[in-house]
Amino acid sequence: MIARMKTLKVDNALKKGTDIGPVVDKSQLIQDLFYIEEGKKEGAKLAYGGLQLKRETEGFYLEPALFTETSNSMRINREEVFGPVATVIAAKDYDEALAIANDTPFGLSSGICTTSLKHASHFRKNSQAGMVMVNLPTAGVDYHVPFGGRKGSSYGPREQGRYAQEFYTTVKTSYVLA
């Protein structure tokens, strides 16, 4: 991960070759930096990154951060950061990994990287998320299939694809004797 992170270019969004653009605004940058500090305070190891960066122009540039040796109870693992801050939680086996993955108040997306059909199938069936990714990033969806999650992530009908009609229409049942 760290080797790959070192190759990521953080720069002006419109500049050719940029991998990661700036954070959207000052308050979001403050939030990201807050969580990076919280992570350190709670004892996670900042393995790489997390520094504000200077570029040619004034902008909200933040180096992606990776925390290791984290536990699922830490704030950086309970709360949505909404910035380039990743954490690693160790699990001794698949069952523990599944339990940790489901232990969150949210339920939008989840993913598993594995070459085992058995584990991939079990994860698909037992993950408490609305969208499950196998050997794919948790982010990145198609537009012709439903989008949405469970628990604290989403409320109401799914969005996108044919499933959108559930929200945007209401059903009328008519009985006719003629």
Partner: protein, 286 residues
């Protein structure tokens, strides 16, 4: 050099707001993309009333014409994807390829729902009481309020507005304060395609003013919201108090499990993409 001012589209007219706000480029904070109208409560209510008045005719609008309209909007967005992607990346901060990709997605969403217009099928069943038929149909809600977030300035407004319109609803669309530029261009494309007056209304402004008005107005039949958990809960409380239909897309804390039998290269790319692309600002981020 004076920066350009962009207006709201209310009841068939482009109008100035009560105030304006500046759209800043996060890659270069000295770069002001433009100034945008900020509507007040009264203007929002005018938009809602226009949508309410236009709703019956739009519900009965010919399906071929409606399908053609949405398809035209999709094609327009796709034709301008380079230029619009540039605007999007400039005001939101995601990379240019990400911005263009998102605009293409928005175009495809409109074309998809253009197709769905002709597929609003119902059902016909025999009643358990002899001689009676039971007919099931889907009807539009009426007026739909759209409250969109800043992290997908094109795709999310598209995937809310396209189905809202496709299924016969009139729209009052409030974009996020941070990304009015892309929303404004999308609104212009929608309007210029030939929307009848009042069917589509574009109202930029503060969530506490425009958003709140939309959520609390009894003339708004449904609210589709994507944003923070806190605001979502407020929308829910207000909507349920007056029994308005609502849907909320809030946050995520998305875990990615990597087993020891994983292909490490795939796992690393998935993790890097999921956690860091779009600067980590996706509800589906790892």
């Amino acid at each position: 050099m004076a920066t350009q001012q962009y207006q709201n589209y209310i009841a068939g007219e482009w109008v100035n707001g009560a105030t304006t706000s500046r759209d800043i480029n996060p890659s270069d904070t000295s770069d002001v993309v433009a100034e945008y109208a900020q509507a007040d409560k009264a203007q929002t209510e005018t938009a809602i009333e226009a949508a309410r008045q236009a709703a019956p005719a739009w519900a009965n609008y010919g399906v071929q014409a409606r399908a053609d309209l949405l398809d035209k909007i999709g094609n327009q967005i796709l034709a301008r994807s380079q230029e619009l992607g540039q605007l999007l990346s400039r005001e939101e901060g995601k990379t240019l390829p990400e911005g263009i990709g998102e605009v293409v997605r928005a175009g495809n969403v409109f074309k998809f729902f253009g197709g769905e217009v002709l597929r609003r099928a119902g059902e016909l069943l025999p009643s358990v009481r002899p001689g009676i038929d039971v007919e099931l149909v889907r009807e539009p809600l009426g007026v739909v309020g759209i409250i969109a977030p800043w992290n997908f300035p094109a795709a999310i407004p598209a995937w809310k507005a396209a189905p809202a319109l496709a299924y016969g609803n009139c729209v009052v669309f409030k974009p996020a304060d941070l990304v009015p530029g892309m929303a404004h261009e999308l609104a212009r494309i929608i309007v210029d395609a030939g929307m009848p007056q009042g069917v589509f209304n574009f109202v930029m402004g503060r969530g506490s003013v425009v958003g709140e008005t939309i959520v609390n107005d009894p003339r708004v039949d449904g609210i589709t919201f994507t944003g923070s958990v806190d605001t979502g809960q407020k929308v829910a409380a207000s909507a349920v108090a007056r029994m308005a239909k609502f849907q909320l897309e809030m946050g995520g804390k998305n875990p990615m499990v990597v087993l020891d039998d994983a292909d490490l290269n795939i796992a690393v790319e998935c993790a890097i993409n999921g956690a860091f692309f779009s600067t980590g600002q996706r509800c589906t981020a790892s």
